[in-house]
């Protein structure tokens, strides 16, 4: 309520772009009448319900589900209209389902309430009028100055004013926000009074928004009798609620966003629900069954009135109507009859199916979490299932979109080599090499040469300075290390001395592992970064001298510019700018004559799969610096379009540099990456690599992962190929697309396109971000869709597609495009970093890797696995099995209810369409709940029609279930026909038996309840035995549940008919079952009908076997292959 009220109140404020916060005493007279703006309080409400609204709100939400609503309607009809079955038969199951769901949701909400309470009542210290007051967290108001001590979490979003550290920084971890556990540095607002009591300022900042990494604000500080001072505020000044203070004794900050407006709360808005294809199939089948139900009711109603129109049929003397019935309007009677038939046949759509499906999904997902193959000893974690709704979707994947860095590769960077002025320096890790660090032949000069020492040192200084790395907290080890290094560090391998690996313990912390690799690389060459203190960077150079540089500005890295720079001032007073970045973003900004020498190395390194960066520098004259400084300061203070303004200044400063060299960093492939990719391709899955990386690097990774084979013909659509033709880019694009389309799509004979294993030419497709945006956003409307189609068709015929230089949003765009293409294939995205979140959310199934780039991908994923190699088992084994299980579950459920209700429908033709139920109410209610639910649940949890090891070894088996094979209309019709056949057999078999109802040798006759009970017995046995026939994997649980269910049915029937039940108004089943079994004819007919029903089933299985004995043969083959794996034969006893 409060929240809503706040929203209302905040309505006006929301329209304004920024909010103003007053800190400390108000600047009295300078402001006219001061109205404190209203902000929401610091209460976190994550719970959905309160005690009062729980019942109505929860019920409303539950009945919004179409199935629940349907059952409610049926129940109400039963209550209102005089119907054949009592309301209990459908009310009880519905009540059960609703209650269980409500209890579950209530419990979850109670947990949330408890968590909220804990957070909201947490005691925090607030500075008020110079006193420290302890308050409950929920009472914090915007503008309060809050004190937080070490290891506490921040109670709201704070602007850092004061830190106990000398340099005005503090460290935080944001593990609970984005999962990144490394320490991040935040800075105090510069030049703030030490005495916060005296502080008087206003903060202008943007309205709350969920982006964790964006914040723009401005702080105006009023000092006594002085002009106000303005300071810019950025994300580095903002401490987020939920983050934890580390390595800092205490800080003080002023609250800017509170409660539900904090970035954390804004980020907890629910994810959109993903629905699986199976669920869509269920809904489609449901519609069919609903139509069957309606038409059944309609047919019966019509026939009833046709039949009654014959004389004497409507109201025979033995069954007169009550006066009220006689008076009822004919059309009303028709309508109530229709409803009665609906109620009578409503069991065709069972409530229990939803319960069983939910249970299957929930329990089934546990097998993923339990799987010890997914356990990674390194991070000591197994797989994580965030949603169990998509288990079966894992068996349907047609496209895998994978990130490269951290997913295909380990994101474990290692400095491999560098090139200075065109000379290559390789550092070999292996101790066996004589030269730890040597100059190998550059292609430029055949003679071993090296660059001048001056350039070398400049290059290494650049590596040491141009980054945002921090040194881990100084310890006593740090002092010793300096000494240790003195001994180790030597010249650049001039005297061929073996260089010992630098102390790995020396901890560096950075947001990107590349930077650490570079700094560590510099250490190897003798330049050690000692840390940043009071804006002074210290470097230990080769001569063991400490060099000091004053850090003036950091021009941060961003994915658009793809470079970063620092501006430093050396002791000698020179102002230097060092810049490092991707080749494409550096080359245009340096003198062109320097480029060529370096470009060769960069290209070669990229081809080998290394990540390359170019390093450049320039001297800034005093005027230049002053100009840049002013520009940067101004841009940083801007409240609007700060990013754009900063970008403009950055671009202006980073020009006219001179190139020093380039670095190459290796990113190792993940364990078993190639094997995984190979088996996924074998499973008919198309793999697209979406990366922000360079084409060459990505391409080499693709080769290494065997996504591209040697004989794969690559079709390139990149900026390079587009510029080759000396034509306008768009014309060239058009030409290339047509050409590739011809190659990949038209020239392939139509039959072959589908088969992956054919000997036809494999194609690989490469596209980069720029070309992609040309394809997607073509200037001509008509061409746009044409290009898109061409592009998609080409891609669909390629074995692998590589998209490089992608922005995160483009990744999502591609996923969306494929997802919405013809046939709407099932897509899976896998990634580990924040840049993959968009595609993880977009794809049908999102998988996060518990990698190094934080936990954001994991949080937003549907499933998280520790390593890429686990994807294979997740899809090929778990996905396959889940799909088969749930598909069988769904089909079986529809089938068993069809043959359950069909006899009841047929009986109407023999009882004057009077809605006489064939089965007793107890049987109607218990059929789905007790007699037939457990075997299918056990089946859908335990079935392994092919055992897991075989599935893993034969990836091609995955194709057998592709394209929703078991839930398409074909199988559905097959199952439906089977249900119809069984229903007909049950009903007419017993019908002909009853042409003489004297079935015992004492001449006594059987009545209608005996009739129904015989049909029901045959039904329960047939339906259960059919499942038994389908079961390929009989564990003791299957045995227990299948035979147990049948036994339970028999025992229950004896019990139900054996006692006079005091609460029943009629005893119609009294001794019916026992009497039935005392007749030999009934035994014979039950056996006959069960066998007759199952005959086609057995025949199908047998006839399928000799022609396609795949599962068995395969398992035997694989047994031969891995006969040494004794263990396997235990679990897959395939011999008969």
């Amino acid at each position: 309520m409060l929240r809503r009220l706040n929203r209302l109140l905040g309505g006006d404020e929301r329209r304004v772009d920024s909010r103003t916060i007053y800190v400390g005493r108000q600047p009295g007279s300078t402001n006219e009448a001061f109205i404190p703006p209203k902000f929401c309080d610091n209460r976190i409400v994550s719970s959905k319900y309160t005690v009062w609204n729980f019942l109505p709100k929860n019920l409303f939400e539950q009945f919004r589900r179409i199935a629940n609503f349907y059952f409610l309607i049926i129940f109400l009809v039963q209550v209102i209209v005089d119907t054949p079955t009592s309301p209990v038969t459908s009310g009880l199951p519905l009540f059960f389902v609703i209650t269980v769901t409500a209890i579950k949701q209530g419990y979850e909400d109670w947990l949330r309430h408890k968590a909220d309470y804990e957070v909201n009542k947490y005691r925090v210290t607030v500075l008020e009028d110079g006193r420290r007051i302890s308050k409950e967290s929920e009472k914090i108001k915007v503008g309060d100055v809050v004190e937080v001590v070490e290891d506490e979490t921040f109670p709201c979003d704070l602007i850092l004013l004061q830190s106990s550290r000398d340099d005005g920084t503090c460290f935080v971890t944001t593990a609970s926000l984005d999962g990144e556990s490394n320490h991040k540095t935040h800075y105090t607002v510069p030049d703030i009074e030490k005495d916060l009591e005296m502080l008087c300022a206003t903060i202008e900042c943007e309205q709350p928004q969920p982006d964790l990494y964006k914040f723009v604000g401005r702080m105006q500080i009023y000092r006594n009798n002085q002009e106000s001072v303005v300071r810019s505020l950025g994300p580095e000044n903002l401490l987020l609620k939920g983050a934890t203070l580390k390595n800092t004794k205490k800080i003080c900050g002023v609250a800017v966003y509170t409660g539900m407006e904090t970035k954390m709360a804004l980020n907890y808005q629910g994810k959109s629900q993903k629905r699986s294809a199976v669920e869509k199939s269920i809904n489609a089948f449901l519609l069919v069954y609903l139509c069957i139900l309606l038409s059944k009711a309609l047919v019966c109603t019509t026939l009833k009135y046709v039949w009654q129109s014959k004389p004497g049929q409507d109201e025979p003397w033995y069954n007169e109507k009550t006066p009220r019935e006689k008076e009822t309007n004919l059309y009303l009677k028709m309508f109530t009859d229709f409803l009665s038939f609906m109620v009578l046949f409503n069991f065709i759509i069972p409530v229990s199916m939803y319960v069983t499906v939910e249970m299957q999904k929930f329990l089934g997902s546990l097998f993923i979490t339990w799987d010890k193959d997914f356990f990674d000893p390194e991070i000591k974690e197994g797989a994580l299932v965030n949603t169990s709704d998509l288990n079966e979707e894992l068996g349907q994947v047609e496209y895998v979109f994978t990130d490269k860095t951290g997913t295909l590769t380990q994101n474990n960077m290692e400095f491999i080599e560098c090139c200075i002025d065109g000379f290559q320096y390789t550092y070999r890790d292996t101790a066996s090499e004589l030269d730890g660090f040597c100059v190998t032949d550059g292609p430029v000069s055949k003679l071993p040469q090296k660059a001048s020492t001056e350039r070398e040192e400049l290059f290494l200084r650049a590596l040491c300075l141009c980054h945002t790395v921090q040194v881990k907290e100084p310890t006593e080890q740090d002092q010793g290390q300096g000494g240790g290094l003195l001994d180790q560090v030597d010249g650049l391998g001039v005297d061929g001395e073996v260089l010992q690996p630098p102390q790995e313990e020396k901890g560096f912390i950075a947001s990107s592992p590349d930077e650490i690799a570079l700094v560590k690389g510099a250490v190897r060459y003798g330049f050690t970064f000692l840390g940043l203190e009071n804006k002074v960077m210290k470097i230990l150079n080769r001569n063991k001298d400490v060099e000091m540089y004053e850090l003036l500005h950091v021009l941060n890295f961003d994915p658009v510019r793809r470079r970063m720079s620092v501006i430093v001032r050396s002791r000698s007073g020179d102002t230097l700018l060092f810049c490092k970045g991707a080749d494409a973003s550096i080359f245009p900004r340096v003198r062109q004559e320097e480029v060529e020498r370096i470009r060769m190395h960069v290209d070669r390194n990229a081809k080998e799969g290394y990540r390359t960066l170019c390093v450049a520098y320039k001297y800034l004259s005093a005027e230049e610096y002053a100009q840049a400084d002013a520009g940067l300061r101004e841009a940083r203070l801007a409240l609007q379009d700060r990013e754009e303004k900063l970008m403009a200044v950055y671009n202006q400063v980073e020009t006219g540099m001179s190139l020093i060299g380039a670095t190459a960093v290796e990113d190792r492939l993940q364990e078993e990456a190639a094997e995984t990719m190979e088996s996924l391709q074998g499973a008919g899955i198309k793999i697209w690599v979406l990366t922000g990386d360079k084409m060459e690097t990505a391409k080499s990774t693709c080769y290494a992962c065997r996504l591209f084979q040697r004989n794969t013909e690559l079709l390139e659509l990149t900026v390079r190929t587009l510029e080759d033709g000396r034509m306008r880019r768009e014309a060239r694009l058009h030409e290339l697309l047509i050409e590739y389309h011809k190659k990949a799509v038209q020239d392939v004979p139509p039959g072959v396109t589908r088969s992956w294993c054919s000997d036809s030419q494999d194609y690989g497709f490469i596209i980069d971000g720029a070309s992609l945006s040309m394809v997607l956003n073509c200037s001509h409307e008509s061409n746009s869709s044409l290009y898109k189609n061409l592009f998609l068709q080409i891609c669909q015929n390629c074995t692998a597609v590589l998209c490089c230089r992608m922005a995160p949003l483009q990744k999502a765009q591609i996923v969306k495009m494929v997802k919405n293409s013809k046939g709407s294939p099932i897509t899976l995205s896998i990634g580990d970093g924040a840049n993959d979140v968009s595609m993880i959310l977009e794809a049908h199934v999102g998988i996060g890797i518990k990698g190094k780039e934080g936990r954001q991908a994991v949080r937003n994923s549907d499933y998280a696995i520790p390593k890429l190699k686990h994807l294979k088992k997740l899809l090929l084994a778990h996905g396959h099995l889940y799909y088969v299980r749930i598909a069988h579950l769904v089909q079986y459920f529809f089938y068993k209810n069809l043959c359950f209700i069909l006899p009841q429908f047929l009986y109407q033709f023999f009882c004057g369409y009077s809605q006489q139920p064939l089965y007793d109410a107890a049987y109607l209610t218990m059929y789905n709940i007790c007699f037939t639910s457990m075997p299918i649940l056990a089946y859908s949890l335990l079935e392994q029609h092919i055992c897991i090891d075989v599935l893993l070894e034969n990836a091609t088996l995955y194709r057998a279930i592709a394209k929703n094979a078991m839930l398409r209309w074909g199988p559905f019709i097959k199952w439906t026909l089977q249900g119809v056949f069984h229903g007909l057999v049950f009903f007419f078999g017993v019908r002909y038996l009853f042409s003489n109802p004297a079935l015992q040798n004492n001449g006594q006759v059987f009545g209608n309840w005996s009739y129904g009970t015989i049909v029901f017995t045959v039904l329960v046995f047939t339906v259960t035995l059919k499942l038994a026939l389908d079961t390929r994997h009989w564990t003791w649980l299957n045995h227990f549940v299948i035979w147990g269910s049948l036994a339970f049915y028999v025992v229950f029937s004896f019990f139900w008919g054996g006692i006079i039940w005091p609460f029943l108004s009629q005893q119609r089943l009294c001794s019916v079952f026992a009497k039935m079994l005392s007749s030999l004819s009934v035994w014979l007919v039950i056996i006959l009908l069960i066998l007759l029903s199952l005959l086609p089933e057995i025949l199908l299985v047998v006839f399928r076997n000799p022609f396609a004995p795949r599962p068995r043969q395969l398992s035997e083959d694989s047994l031969l292959h891995s006969s040494r794996q004794q263990q396997l034969s235990h679990h897959c006893p395939t011999s008969t």
Partner: protein
């Protein structure tokens, strides 16, 4: 130590169940099992089928329609609703001995005892002997709940009210005189119905329980006078009443009327001429129904029913044909595989 503990806490349980490695039996339905299986099943079914068919054929049945639709039919004059307590006679002859015990059924057709409203129009509490329901019968019995004077009807409801009311007497014509064949009305209803499901009120004499109630409108005698010959066969446990109250499953049905087991007829009905005397009370023509009497003897499988025998024979031979077809297919497949 602590670290180790943590590790084990995070690590999934390594049990056969959690790893989906429970030992399992994986049956494979192969031709090798199915062909002999089908053969055995087929032979067994044919065996059973022959036995059933022979048994069924050996059962003698004599069915006579006595509705009297035909003008020439002896009961034709009784079809007039205005004729009260009409008696008619059907003559028939038996050529060979009709083996005993002979069961005497009456049959009705196009009679919907399985109407839903008809079926629920009953008050089990009354029939269970609960006196409180004698004075206020269940609402479900309406419109057979109270008579026009608002007296409660016991037993109430359409089902009880429409109890079959024709009675039969069978005579053998021996030397021109009618010799009555004794009909046995004991044990024609389910034992559980008369002993467990239905009960008379524990009031003696029984008549006292029915004070202030009226008999069902169509009944000739009140419930406590259904069988004047046997005092224990009255009230709700009267055998004829119980037979009627067991609803038939289909609109054409027969119900057991009497058995011929005693006297000279223990061995069955000898060849000769017989007369069936019918007290024709039950109207069926208004709804197009027919009435029949059926004499039949029974076997271990019950009354005559060819369906079971034929079905067993057909399915048995189908199994055998299938196994032969499979054998051929399988042999061919094997053959081609060896190539």
């Amino acid at each position: 130590m602590v670290k180790q503990k943590q590790e084990t806490a995070n690590q999934p349980d390594n049990t056969a169940f959690t790893q989906q490695r429970l030992p399992a039996w994986q049956p494979i339905i192969s031709a090798g099992i199915v062909i002999p299986g089908f053969l055995i099943i087929g032979l067994a079914f044919i065996g059973i089928g022959v036995a059933l068919f022979v048994t069924s054929q050996s059962i003698q049945v004599l069915e006579m329609d006595y509705t009297g639709v035909d003008k020439t039919s002896p009961c034709n004059r009784c079809t007039d609703p205005n004729v009260k307590s009409c008696l008619c006679q059907m003559d028939f002859s038996i050529d060979t001995l009709f083996k005993g015990p002979v069961f005497f059924y009456y049959g009705l057709s196009n009679y919907y005892q399985n109407f839903r409203k008809y079926g629920v129009s009953i008050d089990y509490n009354q029939l269970f002997g609960d006196l409180s329901y004698f004075t206020s019968p269940s609402e479900k019995c309406s419109p057979y709940q109270y008579d026009n004077n608002n007296n409660p009807i016991v037993p109430c409801g359409a089902m009880a009210n429409s109890m079959f009311s024709d009675t039969f007497k069978l005579f053998q014509i021996v030397n021109g005189t009618n010799k009555e064949v004794p009909l046995d009305g004991k044990g024609i209803a389910w034992w559980t119905d008369s002993n467990i499901k239905y009960r008379n009120p524990s009031v003696t004499p029984l008549q006292m329980a029915f004070n202030n109630t009226v008999k069902p409108l169509l009944w000739a005698n009140p419930a406590y006078q259904l069988d004047p010959a046997d005092a224990n066969n009255n009230g709700f446990i009267n055998q004829d009443f119980l037979v009627w109250m067991r609803r038939a499953a289909l609109p054409n049905f027969r119900k057991l009327y009497r058995r011929i087991t005693s006297g000279d007829y223990t061995q069955g009905l000898p060849a000769g001429n017989y007369t069936l005397q019918i007290a024709y009370n039950y109207p069926v023509l208004s709804f197009g129904g027919r009435k029949t009497v059926v004499f039949s003897n029974v076997s271990w499988m019950g009354g005559k029913n060819d369906f079971l025998g034929i079905a067993y024979l057909v399915i048995g031979s189908m199994c055998i044909i299938m196994s032969i077809v499979m054998l051929i297919v399988y042999a061919k497949f094997r053959f081609s595989e060896e190539e």
